[in-house]
Symmetry: C2
Subunit: 293 residues, 2 copies
C-alpha cells in the first residue's frame, strides 16, 4: 500500500507547466486528473461543464473587453460581480457592481484579464458538499455544511446545514454527478446556493476544502485522510458524522482569542504555525463540537 | 505559547543519566518531573508510594535473593508472579508461579535482578484511567476504559467500561490523588483491578498510555494533545467523550487484516509505519467508533 502511495502524483492549485505534467503522467497517474483541475481553474469552463451536466448556475456572461462588459451588464443586470476567469480565491480578483459605475474604469482595474460577469442570486444560504471518489469509482460524501462568509472569506461552517431531507439528498447527488463526470479521484468541494427554485452550483474546488475542516473532529475519517485514501486506491471512509460541529476560521487578529479558545472544553484548536498574523490571513480554525442532534 | 513549548523538556521511558538530568533541569523544567519517573520505574517504590496514599495494591513481597523468594512465596502464596523491579513492560521480565516450582531455578532465571513477588488478585476486570494534570494544578481525567490483555499484551480497551457510577468516580478520584501527590504535569495512566472489595491499583505509567489511544477518535482533545497542553502550560481539554469506542491493538500478523479494516466504515486506522511485522510487535491500532450510549 505504501508503494502504491509513492507512485501517485497529487497536487492542489499549482501552475505546473503542461510540458512537465506530460512527462510526469508518463510515469505515474495524476490524481485528481488534469481535466478536473483545468475545468475548475477557469470559471467559464466550469460553468459550461456544470450546465452540460444539467445543473443550474447563476446567470453569467463572458467578458473579454469593454464592449463585452457593457453587453454583459445589460444582459445580466446589477447587482452583479465581475470575476477573473482564473486565479481568484477568497474574494480576490473580484469587483462588485451595484449599477451606475463607469464601466471603463471597472474594466481598467481588471488589467486585461479574461472575466465573467455573474449575476447576484437571491439565496437563503450557502451550503457545501465535500465529496470523494475512489480509484474504483466509489463515491462518498460528507453531510453538507452551511457556510457564512464575512468580507469574501469563509467565516463559519455549521453541520448539520439547514436543509430539508430532499435538499440534502439533492446536494449529495449533484456532487456525485460532478465527481463521476470528471472521472475524479480524490476529495472535491461543491459550493451550492439554496434558492427558492432549488440548488444552484456556485463553484467547485478540486481539493480538500476549508468548509470540510469540521470533519477533523466530527467524523471517523476526515477529509484529509479521505483524500489520501482516494488517491492511493484505499477504500473510502463513509463520511458518517458522530457529532454536530461548527468550524470557525481564525483570521488575522482572531489569534488574540487563542488562549480563551484553548480553555473552552468543546473546542478543538487547529493552528497553522504561520509566523505573522496579518489582516485577512487564515491563521487556523476551530471546531466546536456538540452531541449529534 | 510556542516559545513556552520550546523551554520545556519532556520524555517517555529513557534511561537518561542523573548527571545529564541535573544539567538539563538547570535550564528548563522537566515535565513530568523526575520523582514521577523514578517512582513509576521501580515496582517496589511505586507500591510504597501508592500504599502511602492509602490506596490498595495486590499483596507483594520484596525479593533480592533466593531466601527472600522462598519467604515471599510462603507469605504471598501461589499463584503469584515474580517481576523485576525495573525495566519490565508488556509481560517481559516476569515469571508466573503456579506452585511446586524449583525456586532455585526460577531465581536463576532472574539473573540477579531485584524483584517483587506479586500475589494474583481475584478481579472481575481491569480498567484504566488516563488522567492529566496541568501546570496550574488543574486535573482532567478521561472516562475509564476496560482493558483485555492477551499473552501479557493489551488487546482491547472498551469505553465505557463496566463500572457503576460510584466505581467510576472512585477510579477518577484515585487518579487525581496520584497526580496531585506526584506534583505531576502531563498525562499519566493508572491501571486498576475491579475486585469485590473495591478498586486496587495494578500500576501507574507516567506517560500517554496504550489504553488511552481511543481518545484519538472519541474525544475533542486526545491524550497526545492533552499531554502537550499540560507540559507547555496550556489549559487542559476536559476529557468528555462524544462516542463509544473500542480500541484494538494490531499486533504482528494482525497487519494482514488491514485491507478489511480499512474498508470498515466505523473503523479509524492508526498504523505506526514499522517496516516489519514480528509476532508480538505493536504495528498499529484501530478505534471502532459507535454512537455514545
Amino acid at each position: 500500500l505504501r508503494a502504491k502511495a509513492c507512485n501517485v502524483v497529487t497536487y492542489e492549485f499549482e501552475n505546473i507547466p503542461t510540458s512537465a505534467l506530460d512527462i510526469i503522467e508518463e510515469h505515474a497517474p495524476i490524481r485528481p486528473n488534469r481535466r478536473a483541475l483545468a475545468t475548475s481553474q477557469d470559471r467559464l469552463d466550469e460553468k459550461h461543464f456544470l450546465e452540460g451536466l444539467g445543473l443550474t448556475v447563476a446567470p453569467y456572461a463572458n467578458v473579454e473587453n469593454l464592449q463585452e462588459l457593457e453587453d454583459a451588464v445589460a444582459a445580466v443586470g446589477t447587482p452583479s460581480i465581475l470575476k477573473t476567469r482564473r486565479m481568484g480565491y477568497d474574494g480576490k480578483g473580484q469587483i462588485r457592481l451595484k449599477g451606475g459605475e463607469q464601466l471603463a474604469d471597472i474594466w481598467a482595474q481588471m488589467d486585461g484579464a479574461a472575466c465573467v460577469l455573474e449575476g447576484f442570486v437571491e439565496f437563503a444560504h450557502e451550503v457545501s458538499v465535500i465529496g470523494a471518489r475512489g480509484a474504483d469509482g466509489q463515491v462518498s460524501c460528507y453531510d453538507p455544511g452551511e457556510n457564512v462568509h464575512v468580507g469574501g472569506i469563509l467565516d463559519t461552517t455549521t453541520v448539520p446545514a439547514k436543509l430539508s431531507t430532499s435538499q440534502r439528498m439533492d446536494a449529495v447527488i449533484m456532487a456525485g454527478k460532478i465527481l463521476n463526470a470528471l472521472d475524479y479521484i480524490g476529495v472535491l468541494g461543491v459550493e451550492l446556493f439554496v434558492t427558492p427554485n432549488g440548488l444552484l452550483v456556485n463553484e467547485i474546488a478540486p481539493r480538500v476544502h476549508n468548509s470540510g475542516h469540521w470533519t477533523q473532529n466530527g467524523c471517523v475519517i476526515d477529509q484529509f485522510e479521505q483524500h489520501i485514501r482516494a488517491v492511493t486506491g484505499w477504500p473510502l471512509g463513509d463520511g458518517a458524522r458522530h457529532a454536530d460541529a461548527v468550524m470557525e476560521n481564525l483570521i488575522g487578529g482572531d489569534m488574540d482569542r487563542v488562549p480563551e479558545l484553548a480553555a473552552d472544553p468543546n473546542v478543538a484548536l487547529h493552528l497553522y504555525g504561520k509566523a505573522e498574523a496579518k489582516p485577512g490571513r487564515k491563521m487556523g480554525h476551530i471546531n466546536r463540537i456538540s452531541p449529534k442532534s
